[in-house]
């Protein structure tokens, strides 16, 4: 749980994103639908950027350090300048890496699973004085997403809620956690003591510093009529990555929200999971409240709860009040709503054997204990919760599950694992009951296993493809599965009635088998590209990939020198020219990768590469580097 440790860097501002949502309706994947409704931002480009984000505060061993030169400086996601390496003298500045100029891209896994978008190509730059430090984040995935994070001023009547076509996004909130990888050579000495302390205390892997990053998004304004369209609020935290800790999950103790009922009065605020950590080195109890307390307005201040007191209940039972914590609007802006409470060693002992809860002082807006630690104190969370597999028999995908007890890794724990084929209306699926979802062919196409946890609390999940899963429609490749992890020591849930906890489920998309064609004809390519031209209209405004002449032009031109690629950086099949093969052969975490939706199976992509290669090899064809 590195971002809750020190040194800690808090930032805030706004974010911009413009995902096209034409592809959000399963019906749009029917080839007979040739003029799909535009939904929101049909010409969106799926960009994700920080906007006017700054370092709001930093915290070191002595508390906030307002004089650190990092405070008040921008934190950015698009790199436009390059720091000269030491000794570079007066040489002309190097051109920034093109991959860092392109904005990151936010992408759903599947039309039936829109709840775990990931952000690809997220380059984060910190600025300390004249020195910039840039690293690339592992693609983070949305977690602990909730759509009722704003007090309802109308009602909880489902009809009212549904009528508000954009209310879902405005009222939603969730967080992303990942690590930033910063090449050692790209992190020179800076004037910021906090940055230097962070560098000295964080893990180094494969010549890269790892920095923990977590941020919360809310109040997204997704219509052109909004005051700040296509932007929302962001607060976040950077911290060290410590050994043997998960990279994409907090891995700490969790408070669960009080019971919520749609029958509650309108002014009863809702709550969401809250992570907390006992910092025994500093004698602090550290809470991450940013995604846990209902807002008064979309992207606004937390609701007024009076005083928010911290209690611990030990088994006797004895309830001890430890103090109160700061959940103010200022704390949200200044320190990403991470609240600290000083505790004594004796209180730490209580905390290690007891259960924590947060209780508001107000008595007129529902049960006072708003966030409470559950009775079972075993926590587990999947590290990588979205998976894409080729449909070939024998394909295997793996991820890990971090299991802890009272915040300490738990060894030898065997969890259950269950594969569910998805369909519309199923809890956790982002499509209605009239959307069919998987076809019968999907059944039995994959299996999944999980190992007992090792000494570091890590269990390994393996997903195996057993047969061709087929496709749902000719334009919706593959099938979608939920792989649900559960604790056998807890009551069995009916996952057809209750959505699994978001961090205890893997969403796995398995592509249909596709025969690699080394000599494809235009009709095959056109069929492959047609869904993208329908569902991603912006791309069509740049290159109509279903127009054979346009496709041919950009399949051949330009030579990749135009992208500053050295001749050694050849693409698949030795290709070194053509915009289409260039953008379609980028790394998965390169923001320029096409298709942006990252849902083209390998064999389809390679078939397309052969088509381009063959075009380039056509006698008489020459490439124009400036095209």
């Amino acid at each position: 749980m590195s971002y809750l440790d020190i040194p800690r860097i808090h930032f805030g501002g706004r974010f911009f994103t413009d995902p096209s949502t034409v592809n959000n309706d399963p019906a749009h994947y029917d080839p007979s639908v040739t003029n799909p409704s535009p939904w929101q931002t049909p010409l969106g480009q799926h960009r994700f950027e920080f906007v006017n984000c700054r370092i709001m505060s930093v915290m070191g061993p002595n508390g906030f350090a307002p004089d650190d030169p990092l405070v008040g400086t921008p934190i950015t996601t698009v790199v436009t300048t390059v720091t000269q390496p030491p000794g570079a003298g007066t040489a002309a500045p190097a051109a920034p890496n093109p991959a860092t100029i392109s904005p990151a891209k936010i992408v759903d896994l599947d039309v039936y699973q829109q709840g775990i978008p990931a952000i690809y190509g997220l380059n984060i730059t910190l600025n300390a004085g004249s020195t910039a430090v840039t690293g690339l984040a592992d693609p983070p995935t949305l977690n602990q997403f909730w759509t009722n994070s704003v007090i309802p001023t109308r009602s909880w009547d489902p009809g009212d809620y549904d009528q508000d076509s954009f209310g879902g996004d405005m009222n939603a909130c969730g967080w992303f956690q990942t690590v930033i990888r910063i090449p050692v050579a790209n992190w020179p000495q800076t004037s910021s003591p906090i940055l230097e302390t962070l560098k000295a205390n964080t893990q180094t892997v494969s010549g890269q510093y790892l920095v923990s990053l977590k941020f919360v998004l809310d109040g997204f304004q997704n219509t052109a009529e909004d005051a700040q369209p296509l932007t929302g609020r962001i607060v976040g935290t950077l911290g060290p990555v410590l050994a043997n800790e998960p990279l994409y999950n907090p891995g700490q103790r969790t408070l669960l929200p009080r019971t919520f009922s749609s029958k509650d009065p309108w002014n009863f605020p809702s709550f969401n999971n809250c992570i907390f950590k006992i910092d025994t080195k500093r004698n602090k109890l550290v809470f991450d409240l940013a995604n846990s307390i209902c807002r008064q307005t979309a992207g606004g201040d937390p609701v007024d709860l009076g005083i928010l007191n911290v209690f611990v209940t030990t088994p006797e039972p004895v309830v001890t009040q430890l103090g109160s914590i700061d959940y103010s609007a200022f704390a949200y802006a200044n320190n990403a709503h991470i609240a600290e409470l000083s505790i004594t060693p004796a209180q730490i002992a209580l905390l290690q054997q007891g259960k924590v809860n947060l209780a508001m002082s107000y008595t007129n807006i529902g049960m006072q204990a708003v966030l409470s630690e559950p009775a079972p104190n075993i926590q587990f969370a999947v590290e990588i919760r979205r998976m894409q597999l080729e449909g070939n028999v024998g394909t295997t995908g793996t991820t890990t599950v971090y299991i802890s007890q009272n915040g300490v890794p738990l060894a030898g724990k065997q969890l259950n694992i269950l594969v569910e084929s998805t369909h519309g209306g199923m809890p956790g699926v982002t499509a209605g009951p009239n959307d069919p979802g998987n076809t019968p062919q999907a059944d039995g196409a994959i299996s999944a296993t999980i190992t007992p946890s090792n000494a570091k609390g890590i269990a390994t999940v393996s997903v195996n493809v057993l047969k061709d899963p087929g496709s749902r429609t000719p334009e919706l490749d593959g099938q979608l599965y939920f792989i649900i992890i559960s604790d056998p020591d807890q009551p069995v849930q009916n996952w057809n009635q209750v959505a699994p906890p978001q961090d205890q489920m893997i969403s796995c998309k398995v592509f249909s088998q596709y025969p690699l064609n080394q000599n494809p004809q235009w009709e095959e390519i056109e069929t492959m590209m047609a869904p993208y031209m329908k569902l991603y209209p912006f791309m069509k405004t740049r290159i109509n990939l279903t127009d054979p002449d346009s496709f041919k032009l950009f399949a051949i031109n330009p030579i990749w020198f135009a992208y500053n690629e050295p001749p050694t950086n050849k693409g698949p099949l030795g290709i070194f020219s053509g915009a289409i093969p260039y953008y379609m052969s980028r790394d998965m975490n390169d923001p320029r990768l096409m298709p942006i939706t990252r849902d083209l199976s390998y064999n389809k992509m390679m078939t397309l590469m052969y088509y381009c290669k063959n075009l380039q090899a056509t006698p008489g064809v020459t490439t124009n580097p400036t095209t």
């Binding site: 805030g12 700054r54 709001m56 505060s57 906030f64 307002p66 004089d67 030169p69 405070v71 008040g72 008064q296 201040d301 609701v303 007024d304 709860l305 009076g306 005083i307 928010l308 109160s324 914590i325 700061d326 959940y327 103010s328 609007a329 200022f330 704390a331 949200y332 802006a333 200044n334 320190n335």
Partner: protein
């Protein structure tokens, strides 16, 4: 009227506490000649209880040489004190209580706005003026506003002036300025003393704009490295007490907390704390919002006493709000203050050595819901106005009161055993101007709260001054829109750790409220 009778007794017996200093010199602050006289102070009022206050405060009105031009009469200004003890006055006005006329009249007269930076030597009464109209409009207009908010950061010597209500530079209308202005205090004092050019003065100032600064009647602080703009209102257009169409009025009902981008006046982190209590406890302006100490913890805090108006009624807040940090302020309905709901000088003293540590707040006159001392003439006027159904329940008072909170959470309120000399109805719309020597000398916490254990029990300590303010002829105006003016009196205030008598506030008289004809905003 018991209070009037006792007053007459008192005036003859206890004149040692308040003096008009006829023998003051340019170098010496007027004060008691002999501390032993204080110890033997006669308590004239039979309601007074001996020894309930662990200290004695002494107010001595200063008189200055007739060869020196008189000080300007000002109220609703803001002020900062230099290392050498000069007081820099900014903004405010020379008009008494504003009038309550309907359009098209103006109730805040443009010519009554204070357009000078006034640098006062409170010892000699000498003062220097700098006309802010010589500055650019971006500075001159907000610098002559009224009821701005000022914070002097003693660590950096930066003076911050936020907002205020005043006339736009083109004179077209009144606004609440959305400005923040800073300058270094010592540099500004030196510039004024050196008769610096307007260009030099201008160069000392930095100004920025943000609508979140558009506040008047609140207060501005720095606490634990963060800035707090507490309560107040945004008033745009002409002041109207009885409704109209040429203004808008919005109480902030917020504690606005923020930091700046280092080296700038651009807000970095910002959060506003609201309160959802149906009583709207943050709907306050023009009260006493002061730096304070929490007696239970000894930690610095901000405390709001009084303030007006409760939504929809002519009522002031009588319970305090305590701001300990960014987290939820504590609204303590168990505290009930009878006196001084409007801004007046407040002296805050903390006794950490007591078995039940207590913080004492002394309020100097002003406007309050209760009163104790009234002269016969004042009370006759009070009765007359009440009979005319014009008593809004908030008369000007001559009382000095103590409101104290102890570590065990209990409150007590007392009335000083003598009123302001001459039963003057003084103190409204000015603050206590504390001596910086208290902080530098270890006699006060960094926020200015006085450490009682550090105060001598044998010799008086000068703790600051009271200057100007609204002075009323009667507790309530015999004729609407009349009967107030602005004082230029200066009181030197001394403290000695000698127990004093005080009158329990339970003996105070509630101002009769008659709202039949009242709609003051």
């Amino acid at each position: 009227m018991k209070s009037i009778i006792t007053l007459l007794l008192f005036l003859s017996a206890s004149g040692t506490i308040f003096n008009s200093c006829n023998g003051g010199t340019d170098q010496t602050v007027a004060g008691p000649k002999d501390s032993t006289n204080i110890k033997s102070l006669t308590i004239a009022d039979t309601n007074a209880v001996n020894g309930v206050m662990p200290y004695t405060i002494l107010f001595f009105e200063q008189t200055y040489s007739k060869s020196i031009p008189p000080l300007p009469a000002l109220q609703a200004y803001v002020a900062a004190t230099s290392k050498q003890g000069q007081i820099l006055i900014i903004g405010g006005r020379s008009q008494g209580l504003h009038t309550f006329n309907a359009a098209p009249d103006t109730n805040f007269l443009p010519k009554k706005a204070n357009n000078f930076l006034v640098l006062i030597d409170p010892v000699s009464g000498k003062h220097l003026l700098f006309d802010v109209n010589k500055l650019s409009p971006a500075l001159s207009a907000p610098l002559q506003a009224t009821n701005q908010q000022l914070y002097h950061d003693l660590e950096t010597d930066l003076v911050y002036i936020v907002g205020g209500y005043g006339w736009k530079s083109d004179g077209s209308n009144m606004v609440t300025f959305n400005t923040i202005i800073t300058f270094k205090m010592e540099a500004m004092v030196a510039a004024i003393q050196g008769n610096a050019s307007p260009q030099t003065i201008e160069a000392l100032c930095q100004v920025a704009h943000d609508d979140r600064f558009a506040v008047t009647g609140g207060e501005f602080f720095k606490l634990n490295g963060q800035f707090y703009l507490v309560f107040g209102q945004t008033f745009m257009g002409q002041y109207r007490a009885f409704g109209g169409t040429d203004f808008s009025q919005t109480y902030t009902e917020q504690v606005r907390i923020f930091t700046f981008v280092p080296g700038t006046l651009k807000i970095l982190s910002y959060g506003a704390t609201n309160n959802s209590n149906p009583d709207h406890p943050f709907h306050r302006r023009d009260g006493n919002i002061i730096p304070d100490i929490d007696p239970a913890t000894g930690n610095q805090r901000i405390t709001s006493f009084g303030g007006v108006f409760r939504p929809g009624i002519i009522g002031a807040y009588t319970y305090p709000v305590f701001i300990n940090g960014p987290s939820t302020p504590i609204v303590d309905n168990t505290g009930n203050q009878k006196f001084s709901q409007y801004e007046c000088p407040v002296i805050t003293i903390y006794d950490s050595s007591a078995s039940n540590p207590t913080v004492y707040h002394t309020f100097f006159g002003g406007i309050g819901h209760y009163y104790y001392w009234q002269t016969e003439r004042q009370h006759a006027a009070f009765d007359t106005v009440t009979a005319q159904h014009r008593n809004d329940g908030f008369p000007f008072v001559a009382d000095i009161s103590h409101f104290q909170q102890s570590a065990d959470g209990t409150y007590k309120e007392f009335i000083y055993p003598s009123p302001i000399p001459g039963n003057r109805l003084l103190g409204t719309s000015v603050k206590f101007l504390e001596s910086r020597n208290l902080v530098s000398g270890g006699m006060a916490y960094p926020n200015g709260v006085i450490k009682l254990p550090k105060i001598s029990s044998t010799s008086k300590q000068l703790i600051g001054y009271i200057y100007g303010g609204i002075e009323a002829v009667n507790p309530l105006p015999l004729k609407p829109n009349t009967g107030t003016f602005v004082s230029n009196s200066v009181f030197a205030v001394f403290l000695i750790r000698t127990p004093a008598a005080a009158i329990p506030a339970s003996f105070a008289h509630e101002s009769t409220k008659d709202t039949a004809n009242i709609n003051r905003r």
